[in-house]
């Protein structure tokens, strides 16, 4: 029973990591949005499996909230953002695709090496997901750093927030509901602020390439 439980959790979290890799690989923002939606659904699925196997009633509520907000609300918001400023020319990211994929591979390996001691500490069946959550964290950080379009950076930030949620679920069977809601609310606030931020960049520079911000200096 435990073997199936840990296998499913690992499957879910490696699926989430793969969706993050799609953002690095593909070049169209709509595919990023669908990748984010897939990731949110997988996160909800992992939370639900943990809730079922650990018999924790609250996690089911958290899973439902995840599906509602991250599965539907945020992708819809992202799509409106995309429609408004979506028609941008292809902005070459700082790092080309092959190198960013290899860097992602190295980050994943670094995450595995890093998470090695934690796995020795926890004896929960879901400890297999810890390095995957750390890897997702590093990859989403890399997305934020290496991409120049504001929308992509926003999606990177949201994936970062997903990674933290996954880490919580896999590491300690989910933090108490209050903390969960708190974390999620400030992420939502961050997202709304960024939305306005992107809007203003578009207004002043007529492009959402973050590179242009450097012109504000002189």
């Amino acid at each position: 029973m435990n073997a199936l439980f840990s296998q499913l959790v690992m499957l879910g979290s490696s699926g989430m990591l793969l969706t993050a890799l799609i953002v690095l690989w593909r070049k169209s923002v709509p595919s990023y949005i669908s990748a984010y939606r897939w990731q949110a659904w997988l996160l909800a699925a992992v939370t639900a499996t943990v809730a079922y196997f650990a018999g924790d009633r609250q996690l089911f509520a958290v899973a439902a909230a995840l599906v509602a907000l991250k599965g539907f609300a945020i992708p819809a918001l992202l799509r409106t953002m995309q429609q408004r400023f979506g028609a941008q020319p292809q902005i070459k990211p700082y790092v080309n695709t092959e190198t960013s994929l290899c860097v992602a591979g190295l980050l994943v390996m670094f995450a595995y090496v890093l998470a090695r001691p934690w796995m020795a500490v926890t004896h929960l069946p879901t400890r297999g997901g810890l390095p995957l959550a750390m890897a997702l964290l590093f990859v989403s950080l890399f997305i934020i750093v290496s991409r120049r379009k504001a929308i992509t950076q926003v999606i990177g930030f949201l994936m970062l927030e997903n990674a933290i949620a996954l880490l919580a679920v896999v590491g300690t069977y989910g933090v108490p509901l209050l903390v969960e809601v708190g974390v999620f609310l400030d992420a939502l606030m961050g997202f709304l602020v960024m939305q306005i931020f992107v809007y203003h960049i578009h207004e002043t520079f007529d492009t959402i390439d973050v590179e242009q911000l450097t012109h504000l200096r002189h």
């Binding site: 073997a3 199936l4 296998q7 690992m10 499957l11 490696s14 990591l17 793969l18 890799l21 690989w25 695709t97 092959e98 994929l101 290899c102 992602a104 591979g105 994943v108 390996m109 595995y112 297999g128 390095p131």
Partner: protein, 313 residues
């Protein structure tokens, strides 16, 4: 002795089945495009016709041009005798493992590229240069997916890997198996010249990779090269099927087990080739310099597969 006989029969079955596989993919793509299309056994007629025709050889071509079809066909046949199709090849007569199979196919591609260059036509050179580029970029992915399988099973020999997966069914659901399968599937598309890397049914010479090298072949030579390419596709699909979903493969040499093995092989090949056909209807051809991005993505998948094998330990 029956073991050796079974291996010979298995190889002959693979050689006979290969054109039908390409025919089935072409037939299914036609149906998906709303056409009636040629029946799945059409390639057999094409091969019969080609054997009846005259072979035209260019003046600038050397002995390599006429020797290459034999090398391409024989490397494909020998690899078919190594790969677990109907029965897992075990015992003294196994000539090699996964690495040997990959390098034998590399021998076939090496000579095909030379034949492309031999006639001095720009298409042949273009095809050879692009084919060697794609093959060079797929090597690390193939090696790492072999490593991911071998680490689990403890060795790179087919019988060991299949036995391990049969013994531990939960492993088949493991992330390393799925990731390695995805990586190997992308490599199959790249290595056998299917869409999105190279369009097998194109007529524009400048977009070809595999076709461009065989533009100069005609008659029986062309039949051998096409048969070898079809056999290579069958080998890759059978590898992807039997290493990751080995249920149904014959472990003993009893006639019943062999029959079940044959039926399960045909079913698995049908499912995989249907997947290839559906994918080819859905996906357009990638620009040549977007192909390395696809191949580096498959390399990262294989790397993750290897990572997760350590995780399980």
């Amino acid at each position: 002795m029956s073991r050796f006989l079974a291996l010979v029969v298995q190889t002959l079955v693979a050689v006979a089945l290969a054109p039908a596989l390409t025919g089935f993919i072409r037939w299914l793509k036609a149906r998906l495009q709303g056409r009636r299309g040629a029946p799945p056994w059409q390639p057999y007629f094409e091969i019969r016709k080609l054997f009846g025709k005259e072979a035209v050889v260019s003046h600038t071509a050397s002995w390599i041009f006429t020797a290459t079809p034999f090398v391409v066909f024989s490397t494909a046949v020998v690899v078919a005798s190594l790969v677990p199709l109907v029965v897992v090849p075990s015992g003294p007569f196994v000539a090699g493992d996964l690495f040997a199979a990959v390098y034998l196919l590399l021998l076939g591609t090496f000579f095909l590229a030379l034949a492309g260059l031999d006639t001095g036509s720009p298409f042949g050179g273009m095809g050879a240069s692009r084919e060697m580029t794609v093959v060079a970029l797929t090597e690390p992915t193939v090696a790492l997916s072999i490593v991911a399988l071998a680490l689990n099973a403890g060795s790179t020999s087919f019988s060991q890997i299949v036995a391990h997966t049969l013994a531990e069914p939960s492993a088949a659901l493991g992330s390393e198996h799925l990731l390695a399968f995805a990586a190997l599937f992308i490599v199959t598309l790249a290595e056998t010249g299917r869409l999105p890397v190279d369009n097998p049914s194109t007529h524009l010479e400048l977009t070809m990779i595999h076709e461009a090298m065989v533009l100069e072949y005609s008659g029986p030579y062309l039949a051998l090269v096409e048969w070898g390419a079809a056999l290579k596709l069958l080998i890759f699909l059978a590898l992807a099927a039997n290493l990751f979903v080995p249920w149904g493969i014959a472990l003993s040499f009893s006639p019943v087990a062999l029959l079940i093995g044959l039926v399960s092989l045909i079913v698995k090949l049908a499912v995989l080739s249907a997947a290839v056909a559906v994918l080819e209807t859905r996906v357009a051809k990638l620009r040549l310099f977007r192909v390395p991005e696809l191949l580096s993505a498959s390399f990262v998948l294989a790397l993750l597969a290897v990572m997760s094998t350590f995780l399980a330990r």
